[in-house]
Subunit: 311 residues, 2 copies
């Protein structure tokens, strides 16, 4: 763990020969019937049954994807809705993913200032040191919200540095209404998200934060659906790893997403969530694999890798 | 709970005769010695001891402040750093505060889009319906991050509406570096935070969201230290309750903060955190009350109420 987050990610991308990562945001009602009909997991009105099912499914997904992709992005909101018990499951998944040699991005979008930001960083980036939590691991990197400027980013960056971990600042979202705020432009035509990218890059480009791969441990989240406006960021910020959501279900094409990679295939993590983890709802895969939901997911990962490789 | 959040808050402000609310963001190392030396709570390296001490202290603070102020703001980051066990404590505090008839603002600053935002809203605004969580309550209102625009606000607003709860959109932070992003201005001089306020107000001003008090259940968080630029918001958005952090330790004066109230004293919640909850570190109170830390906190609340009433 004393190694550099960006170096670990670059190595994993090369080994798995893809920038594709899988996003885990499981919803009980969409889990495979084979999971939801298991004893103790077949009561959608019970917290324990729901959590057990979501966790069982997620653990199985991790095993399927681990040989195929460099990283998993775990969306904590889908666990946090089960209160503290869901949060415990989130950390269990991190440990499992670590055992499977996946890099782990905790999609937590935390953001605040000062001591509050520092407390969030302790929760989500620092491997716990307190007695009683010795076996718990935090994610390798997390997403954060940089709305408060550098004072909202630095407390996370500093703990990430010490832990050999990473931070992805949410710079440009992929939803339509985000444009009203994030494309808000000044008199020179500079947009708010470009300003936020500039602030982030200033922190990211500090030489102590650059690994032997040439990338910083501080990256940016930039939506794949906005690629026309934002591919310029790739050009401008050579040391930044972009985390790109929106491939698949959210409508970004492989070509859109691949604009964030450098010619050698590094520099971006392209995330697909629902198009992969619910592949067993897709007629295309049902025809091939019937109710073998694991095979459906595996094939969807392989297909997405090929699609990105072609682009 | 079927009542309207803004109406409950207005009633509580009138009953307690103050817009002052107390922010709970406790740190183990600063807890009173009387707490930290208790059996089972005297080991700063143990998770269980730290959490028990923080929870014991927080419960006692709630009892002190409940007769004096309309609401408590609980900062989840200071609990979340103790992982799921801290999150469980956060919900215990909500139940206790509810029993003490305090309105509860969960300072969680969650922010995302679509299903993710909805999941966060389920975690933090909806009183759980799943078996196993019957006795758990969510906060009366939470703070959120509106960086993704209306699509990032509406999923929270809609669940708040159904639950008789509230949402405070973080519009302007009180830290210096926030200005770089939040004061980012367009060609007409309009600032990004003003745009965000406009988007928030459009959602807040829907007639179904306005209570009999004349206020919406959707409010805004605006830092007290920026009062010169932002008191204009009070004038412009008559139906908005402002949650104003920064009174006391963060440097905003009573006069700064009171600009967010209407002449009848409604329309704002003025939050003081460290100046109240660590009052027993203040020479002024030590001289008066010695090591009676509860008395120090009580007196600090009374003093802050008087300071605001004078302004």
């Amino acid at each position: 763990m004393a190694s550099h987050f960006a170096d670990r990610i670059c190595k994993a991308v090369k080994e798995k020969k893809t920038p594709l990562i899988v996003g885990l945001d499981p919803v009980y009602s969409r889990l495979p019937k084979a999971i939801r009909s298991q004893k103790g997991m077949n009561d959608s009105k019970s917290a324990a049954a729901s959590i057990d099912a979501v966790l069982d499914y997620s653990m199985k997904v991790l095993k399927i994807i681990a040989p195929l992709v460099p990283a998993v992005k775990i969306n904590i909101a889908f666990f946090e809705k089960y209160l503290w018990e869901g949060v415990e499951s989130y950390y269990s998944l991190i440990s499992e993913a670590q055992d499977l040699d996946l890099e782990i991005v905790g999609d937590v979008k935390r953001g605040d200032i000062g001591h509050t930001a520092q407390s969030y960083a302790l929760a989500h980036l620092q491997n716990p040191e307190l007695k009683g939590f010795e076996d718990v691991l935090a994610a390798d990197a997390i997403t954060i919200n940089g709305f408060a400027g550098s004072e909202g980013i630095l407390p996370f960056a500093e703990i990430a540095d010490k832990q050999g971990k990473g931070v992805f600042v949410w710079v440009r979202a992929s939803n339509p209404s985000a444009a009203v705020i994030q494309d808000f432009a000044d008199a020179s035509g500079m947009k708010m998200y470009e300003k936020l990218a500039e602030i982030t890059a200033e922190i990211a480009n500090q030489s102590a934060r650059i690994g032997t791969s040439g990338y910083s441990n501080i990256g940016m989240v930039v939506g794949g659906t906005t690629s026309e406006q934002t591919a310029a960021l790739r050009q401008k910020y050579g040391k930044i790893i972009f985390l790109v959501p929106g491939f698949g279900s959210q409508g970004a094409t492989a070509a859109d997403c691949m604009k964030f990679c450098k010619p050698d295939g590094t520099g971006a993590l392209i995330n697909a969530s629902r198009s992969i983890i619910y592949a067993y709802e897709d007629e295309k895969y049902i025809t091939q694999f019937g109710d073998n939901w694991e095979k459906c997911i595996e094939q969807a990962v392989l297909d997405a890798k090929i699609e990105l490789a072609k682009a």
